[in-house]
């Protein structure tokens, strides 16, 4: 159990307890937005090396959605925020 994620509600937990949804950076376009904007939102993703921001679901714990900022090269975790708090405070 190499990767430990510090859940804001449950504390330090192994990554096996979580399920990763994916990139948390794309913002959902307005319903009436252009087809290009929706195509980009649904299908187009960067595949960066280094710092990434992702949605993680703490499936086996508090069952809350979290925003995890981590380095996908070194596995260092910089910040974990509840997704609701992150949504309230913009980029938390």
């Amino acid at each position: 159990m190499a990767s430990l994620i510090t859940c804001p509600h449950c504390g330090r937990r192994p990554k096996e307890e979580f399920s990763i949804r994916g990139d948390a950076v794309p913002e959902r376009p307005a319903p009436a937005a252009s087809e290009e904007a929706w195509h980009a939102y649904v299908y187009l993703r960067d595949n960066p090396r280094g710092n990434i921001r992702e949605y993680w679901h703490h499936v086996a714990g508090c069952r809350r959605w979290l925003v995890v900022e981590r380095d996908n090269l070194t596995h260092a975790v910089f910040a974990v925020t509840d997704a609701r708090e992150a949504a309230k405070g913009g980029t938390a």
């Binding site: 509600h9 449950c10 330090r12 192994p14 096996e16 307890e17 086996a60 508090c62 069952r63 809350r64």
Partner: protein
């Protein structure tokens, strides 16, 4: 509560073996606990948590900031249901048939649990009375510390046999005994 589920416990067939009396390390399966799953509506979390702590004859296990398990070994489901219904901003559902409650106690219980749980169970990190949802033998369950060397586990009924077998194997080196407690 349906008769067929309470009539025969899911772990009934696993209690065999020659164990005349409980050892120091013992696993008790509670035969008929009452377990409610509760959820506070947005904005009511603090008030609901406060109100839940005042309900009599129950213990409250924390799941998430707005989510608790209400467990009782003495009060009836109807009584608890009636008390929960008076709390504003709370939704609840009875889960007694769907969950299995096991209690572990003994001097080596932390070593036994360390084989199944990835959370630090030192008293400084996980104090008496504390509870948290976590993976227990790779099954999502709830673990609570009820004493210095006593823990309670709540796991879904359909995974209980597997968790029970894993705990039995983990406790074998300490001659952990097991049995029903009523």
């Amino acid at each position: 509560m349906s008769i067929s589920f309470t009539h025969r416990h899911i772990l009934e067939d696993r209690m065999g073996g020659y164990e005349p009396s409980p050892n120091a390390n013992h696993l008790t399966v509670v035969r008929r606990p009452v377990i409610f799953s509760t959820l506070a509506h947005a904005g009511h979390e603090a008030a609901v948590a406060e109100a839940l702590s005042l309900v009599e004859d129950v213990v409250v296990r924390s799941v998430s900031p707005s989510d608790w398990l209400v467990v009782s070994q003495s009060a009836s489901a109807a009584t608890i249901s009636a008390s929960l219904a008076t709390i504003p901003g709370l939704s609840f559902a009875e889960q007694s048939d769907g969950q299995v409650l096991m209690a572990l106690s003994g001097p080596d219980v932390r070593t036994i649990l360390a084989k199944c749980v990835a959370v630090d169970l030192h008293a400084d990190m996980f104090a008496e009375g504390q509870s948290a949802p976590m993976m227990i033998c790779r099954v999502a369950g709830n673990l609570a510390r009820t004493g210095a060397d006593a823990f309670e586990i709540i796991v879904p009924r359909s995974h209980a046999a597997y968790v029970f077998d894993e705990l039995r194997d983990a406790g074998r080196e300490f001659a952990m005994t097991r049995g029903f407690g009523d």
